[in-house]
């Protein structure tokens, strides 16, 4: 017998959410990883600002910055950052069909077409930026 029970007034049990709830399922872990990669996006934005400042501060500053960029630990870090950015981008692209329902006349454009459209736009924009930077 539960001494705390009062007749006709049962206590509802409310389970506490564990701190590591996001380790419970692969999809939850992927979700948290996706959200955390936004930190890497922020890092990339800050990196760009630092680079601009180095450019503005003169050739020695730029040379120091470039040397820093080339050092092995930084390269390793930036490989990780690139992978995170790719993960972030791909997961966000794959969410696009969720948010957009495009209708052409009476038919609904299938999700895969919306997704391919987004891939196309991303690759085109990346291609343009690459062309501008590398020519």
């Amino acid at each position: 017998m539960n001494p705390a029970y009062r007749r006709h007034h049962p206590k509802w049990h409310r389970a506490r959410m564990p701190i590591f709830w996001w380790l419970r399922k692969w999809s939850y872990f992927r979700f948290i990883a996706r959200e955390l990669t936004s930190l890497f996006v922020a890092y990339a934005a800050v990196l760009l600002l630092v680079e601009l400042r180095a450019v503005g501060a003169g050739p020695e500053a730029l040379a120091r910055f470039t040397a820093w960029l080339r050092s092995p630990p930084v390269v390793a870090l930036h490989v990780v950052v690139l992978l995170a950015l790719l993960f972030h981008t791909l997961t966000w692209l794959h969410l696009a069909p969720r948010a957009m329902v495009v209708r052409l006349g009476s038919r609904r454009v299938p999700d895969v077409a919306v997704l391919m459209g987004h891939y196309g736009g991303w690759l085109a924009a990346s291609g343009l930026v690459a062309w501008v930077l590398l020519r």
Partner: protein, 580 residues
């Protein structure tokens, strides 16, 4: 004991109950209405209905035609004034549902679409894909949320009606979540608790269909009408009993025996044509199709499976596109519960209990003989359906008569005096009974499931599609024994909090009363008509039995069964002809 006072109570939150509650709220917004249901309303069994709801809407159709199809389908046991009211009010009710958001399937120009259905000469069945009941129920439930005046008591199980001074003045209910017993007092009560298919072992019905409302009325001295008429739906899945809608046949499905032969042509239902012909073959009425199955089985032409004999429903010739558009749920159910795809394979089906034409005796307005007590939907017997219900008339019935019963109850409640003192004493008695006899010290060692299974077996063997005197008498004796045995059921669960075992026990007691009414009404009716077929009285006998059966509960022993003449207005009894 907590007492709650309202003006009108609606017991049961399915299509009829919700429609009644809304009707009361609209008729008289000042009335305090409460909906009491043993499950959340969206779980009600209306949700499982698939095929559609019939109403005259197209230019090629007439009210007379709908009425005639219904009356002949019911083998002239329908009260024709009630049928006239049904067909007349049906179109506006279904349009009202449309205005409330029901997603009726449409023609390309945006008008409501209709399809063919069993026993109907003209297409008049409105449908929402093949989940009409689901959409109807959710539309009604969500619309009911608009009416702030409708209170709800969800998961409260009503155990008894309170009757004093010759009128119904409320109910006693068990609050499942806490185990507390409450008195709900009111000036009028509407019963809309559905049928009792679970007295049989193979049924399309959900677990909750245990005839609770029928028993509440029965125990209060109100007669149950036409209980012997139990409809077997011709196409249920073996083992689960899950319904495969009649719409599968109206879209063109065929019923084949083990030789791949469309056997219905041997049973005076017309000749097989490549496309469905209304009122013929697979679009004949449900009672005749179920009876044809039994005959095929006797001839050894059905297919034997580990779960009993079946025939095959062939939808392959309809093609994937039609099946996806018109029968998506059928496909889903076959894939999920039979591991087969109806686009490519044959569906095993057999007749399963589906609907009770009988129920609480009411008049055209939904009023029972007990002042202040009303009933609507499958719980009631007006009678619209007579000896056999046509598919798609039930969803229409719950709307038309749910509204009628609601309006009548509202009018009565506006004039009736407030509930009086003696009912509170009755309620306290009931509370004592539940706490001491039901939940209290019980001995005997029987289990709910064992007694229940024995009841179901007895009904299937003695009161199935074909019955005879000795089989029915055996069933009657068994039910008497089981009523004694149920008193010896001991419960594993003696707690108060959400005790579903005590609910199962109360439901079993209800089902035994329903079973008793079915069997004794079947014994009384010495003829064959519609869904009630007696091998010892194989002919229809209008001279003696063009009448309803009224079963009155006796304190000890079998119910007394009296006749009640059928109301004939315009359609004198004739021959029921299908296929020609």
């Amino acid at each position: 004991m907590e007492t709650h006072v309202h003006d009108v109570l609606v017991i049961g939150g399915g299509g009829a109950g919700l429609r009644a509650a809304i009707a009361i709220a609209e008729t008289d917004p000042a009335l305090r209405v409460a909906l009491v249901s043993k499950v959340y309303p969206m779980r009600s069994h209306t949700v499982s209905a698939e095929g559609g709801a019939a109403a005259v809407i197209k230019p090629d159709d007439t009210l007379e035609a709908h009425a005639y199809d219904t009356i002949s389908g019911g083998e002239w046991l329908c009260d024709q004034d009630a049928v006239e009211a049904l067909v007349r009010e049906a179109p506006e009710e279904l349009l009202r549902l449309e205005h409330w958001g029901c997603p009726w399937s449409r023609e390309p120009d945006g008008q409501v679409a209709v399809r063919a259905f069993g026993g109907m000469k003209i297409r008049r069945t409105w449908f929402a894909a093949d989940k009409t009941g689901f959409h109807l129920l959710h539309t009604l439930f969500q619309t009911s949320l608009k009416y702030r005046g409708v209170a709800r008591y969800d998961e409260w199980f009503v155990t008894r009606l309170l009757v004093d001074e010759g009128r119904c003045q409320g109910v006693v209910a068990l609050e499942l979540a806490t185990g507390e017993v409450h008195a709900l007092l009111a000036r009028a009560v509407v019963l809309a608790t559905g049928g009792g298919g679970r007295v049989f072992p193979f049924t399309t019905n959900a677990n909750i269909k245990t005839g609770d409302g029928m028993t509440l009325a029965y125990r209060a001295g109100v007669p149950l009408k036409d209980m012997e008429f139990v409809q077997y739906h011709p196409t249920g899945l073996p083992f689960t009993g899950i319904l495969i809608t009649e719409a599968a046949r109206s879209e063109g499905g065929w019923l084949l025996n083990k030789d791949g032969y469309r056997y219905l042509q041997d049973y005076d239902l017309g000749r097989p044509e490549p496309v469905p012909v209304l009122r013929a073959m697979e679009l004949g009425p449900r009672d005749r199709l179920s009876q044809a199955f039994v005959k095929e089985m006797e001839k050894g032409r059905t297919i034997e499976t580990p779960h009993g004999h079946v025939v095959h429903l062939d939808l392959r010739h309809l093609g994937a596109r039609v099946i996806e558009a018109k029968l998506p749920l059928v496909r889903e159910l076959c894939l999920q519960y039979q591991h087969l795809d109806p686009v490519r394979e044959l569906i095993p089906v057999r007749p399963v209990v589906h609907y009770m034409m009988g129920g609480v005796h009411t008049d055209l307005t939904g009023a029972t003989p007990l002042p202040g007590l009303y009933a609507a939907g499958e719980t009631a017997c007006v009678s619209i359906n007579g000896a056999n219900r046509l598919g798609s008339n039930s969803l229409t019935e719950i709307l038309v008569f749910g509204a009628r019963a609601g309006r009548a109850a509202a009018a009565y409640a506006a004039r009736a005096p407030a509930p009086d003192g003696p009912v509170r004493a009755q309620a306290l008695d009931e509370e004592r009974r539940i706490l001491s006899q039901v939940l209290g010290n019980r001995s005997g060692g029987e289990r709910v499931a064992t007694v229940r299974a024995a009841m179901q077996r007895a009904l299937e063997e003695g009161a199935g599609i074909y019955r005879d005197e000795s089989g029915l008498r055996r069933a009657a004796e068994t039910i008497q024994e089981l009523k004694a045995r149920v008193g010896r059921v001991t419960l594993d669960d003696r707690s108060h909090t959400f005790n579903t075992e005590v609910v199962a026990l109360l439901e079993l007691e209800n089902m035994l009363d329903v079973a008793e009414a079915i069997v004794h009404s079947a014994l009384w009716r010495r003829e064959s008509r519609g869904a009630h077929q007696r091998t010892d009285w194989p002919a229809r006998d209008d001279a003696h039995f063009l009448a309803h059966s009224l079963a009155y509960r006796s304190a000890h022993g079998p119910p007394r069964v009296d006749p009640l003449p059928v109301t004939i207005t315009r359609w004198p009894p004739g021959e029921r002809v299908y296929g020609r």
